[in-house]
């Protein structure tokens, strides 16, 4: 369903901020691994896992926003069919994000 990927993705302007957020999440995940190795109380580990999930969802929503603002909008300007194909692809990604 991908129509044109030769252009830079929609999140280009925020690339550094997003990469930084992912490094922070990576540190949180490493922290949970350490908590498990150090026999941390289960509920505290679960609280941290919920925080990581929320952070990942927030990155996902930012990526989606930028994707719709650029890739989907560009495709819609190209042709209604191209726009609709991109939108269907984005909707499927939203459905996956909601389920995860």
């Amino acid at each position: 369903m991908k129509i044109d990927e030769s252009q830079p993705p929609g999140y280009t302007a925020e690339k550094d901020a997003l990469a930084k957020r992912m490094r922070r999440i990576e540190g949180q995940v490493r922290g949970v691994g350490r908590m498990i190795e150090e026999d941390t109380y289960c509920i505290d580990v679960l609280t941290q896992i919920s925080a990581i999930n929320a952070a990942l969802h927030a990155v996902g929503v930012t990526l989606l926003h930028d994707h719709m603002s650029h890739c989907v909008a560009d495709a819609a300007r190209e042709s209604p069919e191209a726009g609709e194909a991109k939108l269907a692809e984005a909707s499927a990604a939203i459905a996956r994000l909601i389920k995860s």
Copy 2:
């Protein structure tokens, strides 16, 4: 609400397996950071984020199961009040996990 944390947490038997799963998730998060730095197509990044969320939720459900099988059950044997307090704490963690 924490009653007794002097004992090892309920996930002791699976500690190595859980720590290993967290290291794999850490690698997936690092991979998403790299995808963003390499301008990977947004939808592919989102698919990977959904996969990480699902993996984290699965670890959370395993931790919850072990917690209820050990900490909550031990507390319930101690006294109905202690068991109920642990269960209320676990229910709050489930609610946070569902929202995240």
Copy 3:
């Protein structure tokens, strides 16, 4: 995996409150149907759908809490195997609730 269902379910004490909450949710769902028929602005319909999902999840967490407090605890008193079977069943229900 169901072991003994001859007893009343764990939520008996709160049955009326839970049935009342479900009637309120039923009214909210009917309201969304009406909003759609009256061409209500999409975002307002979505806000209402999110509120219904949150209300359903809250009922789910209450049911789970009562289930673990009664059915799972009773099974654990019967035998460790019966307790573990009930707990595995509850964990699978938690996983389904998280995904939904």
Copy 4:
């Protein structure tokens, strides 16, 4: 943040199908209320609640798709600012749907 609501919402073409899906969900919610009143086994009630949540999320994704395909696209044609405002509003709705 709502810019122009004088037009029919984006889901007009599928209005009947969506209203029908909401009536089916309303019946499922009423069914859960009845299950609770009839002391149905907790896990079976939870399975049904998960099914309703999934059905509501699916309606939400359909509404979002139609909203982006019409309202957001129309606003973007009007002006970049109008398009961006509608998109920010849609992203906030997606974030609420993910959390619910």
